[in-house]
Amino acid sequence: MNDHAVANPLASSALVPPLTVAVFFVVAAVFASLLWGAGPIGPADALKALIGQGSEEARFVIMELRLPRTAIAVVTGLALAVAGALLQALTRNPLAEPGLLGVSGGSAFAVTLAVMLGASSATLTTVVAQVGALAGCSLVMLATRSRGLATDPVRLVLAGATVTGLLLSLTSVLMLADQRAADEIRFWITGSIAGTPFSHLKAVLPSLAVAGVLVVMVAAPLAAMSLGERAALGLGHKPGRIRLLVLVAVALLVGGATALAGPLVFAGLVVPFIARAIGGPDIRKTLWLCLPIGPTLLLVADTLARIIGAPAELPLGVITALLGAPVLLYIVRSGRMPTL
């Protein structure tokens, strides 16, 4: 994603050391994802395959199976992390997370509906997922207009959790009505990137590029808005328009990620949390740090999902939930709630 313009000259020099470390972690995670899997191809064989040697079987597993899902994990992690950071900056709520707020839920519900109606093409799924995410986003933002929600982080999350629970039930209704679709969806609904074909990634990339441009556009205004709407107005930003742009960006990002991996909870919570812990509350720094940390988290989670359950695999969403819930509890315990 093209994020050079996000860089604030003041911020970037202080960011260099942590960014370097984080990028190192991504590279390590990418290698881990390529080297370990649920099958018999171990790290040694995988390394040989990577430099073009080794058995034909090993080369196939690395190039055709692990490489695509590694790429998909990178993109999904990036999208969810950035979406989480944006939502949190916009709502000034460290708990605002696409999964918790019902954005992923809306997206998943829309896709389930589409699959039931017979949709199968990757492009269509992506669009449907993004429209669903946009609906989820809009609902959340409308909800924040209710008295009490905008100022209280917990209430917003509760509203989101209620919506998510409801969407899950409705998804169950659909799955009950059509068992064939249910079988197709059951694994996807927990979140997984095993077997997602490259074509899906290609279908998602253009809209993510659009989202990237939007992120670049809104980063500076968002940082200004964190000083208060007055300050933002004074600097010539239009809060209403910024909000709208952020919403569209979040919907594109979450919808794209959901189309690729199913609804993943907590990825958008954990990554910006870590990023803020390293770089402080400035949204621009957070976004920069999210770029390497998001992919790292998803790569690690996906690699774990493959290793723990071998020769089968655990759904990725389960791993992110198990990794993310403790972070949620920690945020609550540390009393950092209303600090954004």
Binding site: A38, Q179, E184, P197, P311, E313
Partner: protein, 315 residues
Amino acid sequence: MQRAFVHRISQGLVTALAMFIGSQAALADTRTINTLYGEVTVEGQPERVVTLYEGALDSAIAVGVQPIGAVITRGGQHVAGYIQEAAGDIAIVGAPAETNFEAVLALQPDLILATRQTSKEQFELLSQMAPTIVLDVPLFQQDSWQRELKGFARALGREDRADEVIEEVAQRAAEVREKVIAAIPEDQRDTALVRWMPQGPLVMSENLFTATVLASAGFEVEDSDLVKEGRPHSQPLSLENLSLMDQSWVFLATLNEDGREALEAARQSPAFQRLKANVNNQVIPVDGHLWTSASGPLAAMAILDDIEDALPQQP
């Protein structure tokens, strides 16, 4: 083939009826059946039979009893396609996991044949409507279907018919087996029975009903120790491990009416394209309702027909 068999059965039914009417005066037939929930007594020849289990529907029709009510097949809207014609105009009384007890009652059954997963509460409710048979036959064993057939047939008062039916299935299997042996060299009869899911295939147990039918027709079904004892199938296999299901033949089941759709979906996966069964064009798409959900003698006959059709044409 299947129709011919049903025809034979209906002939058998007529004969049985004639015998039954002839000897009815002498029959004050009372049988005790050992079930999961103790002994159940059935009198005479039940005429209003409701089956809450696909295997029971199959067994009942096979021994010449026409049930009046049944549950839909898993993932379908009606009883499974292979038995629809034989079942005729049958009332639907719910889905496998959600029985509509009022619909059962409305049929005023005199015998209820239920699945082994029936809970004690459900059993007690059903028992108040009619004698209810929940056979204590462990699922997913080599001879499960024969034991179920015998148990249900005994409840239906047609125990003698059960052995004949088993014999007929065995004969048909031997027939197909001969063709299999003629068509396929001995070292190429290894087979995997698989359900393709988007996130990876489920390998079916060697002890699944369908697998035993395949085995009786001369195929060697392999689940490569992926399936735990007492389970019908493995966990969805990681695509990296598809080589574990790489047998000469792969029977690919799906709940789609048209199995080819599933095959197309599977073929989009590069890991699947590499399978030797795929390369040799020996991946056979089959109806999942029949191949992975049904059980019983009629299902066995239908599966044997499918196997026969799948064989390479002999010159």
